[in-house]
Symmetry: C2
């Protein structure tokens, strides 16, 4: 498996988690999600796209994690730093790994001791709820203890190797965005732009493109999550693309806007305000500031609160905690990677969004995305 | 939103589900997964890549479904056939939609009546477990009833419009596979082949490429789920690519094998046996046969049971129920779309897999993928 991290990185991740587990009296953590398994093992595969089989990882109080996985993943997991890999042939309609998982938990977690499971925000149990209930019955008196905050606190600070990967993915997207004008043939539709832009991302070095959204409409667009339609681009449109490309499992997440043919004064002005707000956020993004502080700064620079969040974490996922909202009191620390994502409503069903990616350093933020120009670029 | 289905298709899906719900005494179904929401609404967005926010859909005993979703999705959902769309500003750390969802459930489900929720195989609750517990407390005496079998039975039979979309995606992949030799420049690595092949899929009409796995090694490959490595292809390698491209939300899922430079007699023979097993499966895939029958036929034609499953359903997901395993007694019905996926171990850490996609018709199966040649193609 192409492995961007030395073994020591996984050992350090595991040791940090185990120290936090010890403080909370947790005998082992049960993880079921793709990023959580990858974080502790390096197990990188697009096979998670198949929802047929569950995958389990146990992080014990000490020693290496133990994988309890479908046999189809044994060969790939054997290339990781793990030595205890337990498998079953999945799908098994009678017992899809539940008994094997319960046995492993009973081995690692003494009776009455806590089993850590991510139960809070931005988590989900990636296994059938009926199997979860069966597992709980089998492991009996081992109270389930929420470790979502524990994992959040650890994963939101990226290592230098992780930051280097995100920087690389951001640079790939930057080169693709710079080549956007190449895609604009007469009569080109938004759907064609989406296809060709994904090809550019791949050509520039993305391993795959997990996310692309955008819009193109007169004087703005309706939302930031829509797939492409088949309407040809037309003069007066504002075109926006927002991508989460992936390189070695790490995402970028930022957008770019272009005016097709010409920009109205409203659009020009909104683009400048968004740019100024991103810059203000960048200046304020220093260790010790909170996410709420950053939200206040960005909204202040915009001159209005558009509602919702104006930025978030990213890394192994397209979007991660924390969120730039008034309720988020997370303190920024060096190594946190964030998107700054101010947006403005521009009338009924119209908006403009600007997004950049940064990393928090000891003395302030650093751009990971190549900062967009203040003036919205006009393309023909 | 580009909508490949007329409104009547969604009305029919809803009516079919409601008839089954009536038989099981279910007052409403709560759905949280991307394919389930899309199946009943047409809501198509790659924004599910962000795991920050939960999304909910309620299918009541009669009438249209009710969406309970983050405000960021309101504009896109408003383009669907739904008329009752309730939103909250997410993320909300105090109450991320739980109260709004509970109120809506109390409105649609009388006290003491059943709330349907997918709890069985191949499902997961896409929301924080702690929020699920909170929801259950808020809705009180409304027993949760597993609807995974109900949904499976309905969704495994595709409509003519769905089959047409899967056929189109399969054809796109077929054109890309046919162009594979274009990618083979001297010294090309597997990672480069992966990138360029995804570009081909997009050029041939894929909207995006949710899945690509494969391998290249002497005389076979180690597994079927690995990402690409940076080793240059070399004479004697067997190259395999397996893709789940997507067009208008519908997947293909089939692979192709090539021998680089030359093929050993073992590889040639294994490819023929796999091809013969796929053909035998195709012949046996008639209405009335079961998945267990099909498994027996394919394994019989292979001359050995390689273990695990040898095919599965597909459509809105890369892989869907049923599974071609001895324990699956699902009866094949017209409209079911399946992969036939025989494989053979070829020695320690080596295997060969062959996969095709078919649809079950009234009088037997039809190829959706363009059947591979019986002899493994040699490329230079």
């Amino acid at each position: 498996m192409p492995q961007p991290f030395p073994r020591s990185e996984f050992e350090a991740r595991c040791a940090t988690a185990q120290a936090a587990m010890a403080r909370e009296g947790i005998a082992a953590m049960l993880l079921t999600s793709e990023p959580d398994l990858r974080y502790f093992t390096g197990f990188l595969t697009r096979f998670w796209e198949s929802h047929t089989r569950p995958w389990f990882l146990l992080v014990p109080a000490s020693g290496k994690p133990v994988a309890v996985i479908p046999a189809i993943g044994a060969e790939l997991m054997a290339q990781s730093w793990l030595s205890d890999i337990r498998t079953w042939t999945s799908p098994d309609y009678d017992d899809d790994g539940v008994t094997l998982l319960a046995e492993t938990i009973r081995e690692l977690v003494p009776d009455g001791a806590r089993l850590g499971v991510p139960l809070g925000r931005e988590t989900a149990l990636r296994m059938p709820p009926a199997d979860w209930d069966r597992l709980c019955a089998l492991i009996g008196d081992r109270p389930r203890h929420d470790v979502s905050a524990l994992l959040r606190t650890q994963q939101e600070v990226k290592s230098p190797a992780e930051i280097a990967l995100i920087r690389e993915t951001c640079a790939i997207a930057g080169r693709a965005y710079a080549r956007l004008p190449e895609l604009l043939t007469p009569g080109v539709t938004l759907a064609q732009v989406f296809r060709r832009f994904q090809m550019l991302l791949l050509e520039e070095g993305a391993d795959w493109v997990s996310y692309l959204a955008g819009g193109a409409a007169r004087g703005g667009y309706g939302d930031v999550i829509s797939p492409a339609d088949d309407r040809p681009l037309a003069p007066g449109d504002v075109l926006m693309l927002d991508t989460g490309a992936v390189r070695q499992g790490y995402f970028c997440d930022y957008d770019r806007n272009w005016a097709v043919g010409h920009a109205t004064p409203e659009v020009q002005d909104a683009h400048r305000r968004l740019h100024d707000a991103a810059l203000a956020g960048f200046e304020a993004a220093r260790p010790g500031a909170t996410c709420a502080d950053l939200h206040r700064t960005i909204v202040g620079a915009l001159g209005q609160d558009p509602g919702g969040r104006v930025g978030h974490g990213l890394g192994m996922r397209l979007t991660e905690w924390p969120s730039l909202i008034p309720a988020d009191n997370t303190v920024l620390r060096p190594g946190m990677v964030m998107s700054l994502e101010p947006w403005l409503p521009l009338g009924p069903g119209l908006m403009l969004v600007h997004e950049e990616n940064i990393v928090i350093g000891e003395n302030g933020a650093e751009w990971l995305s190549p900062l967009a120009p203040r003036e919205i670029p006009v393309i023909d």
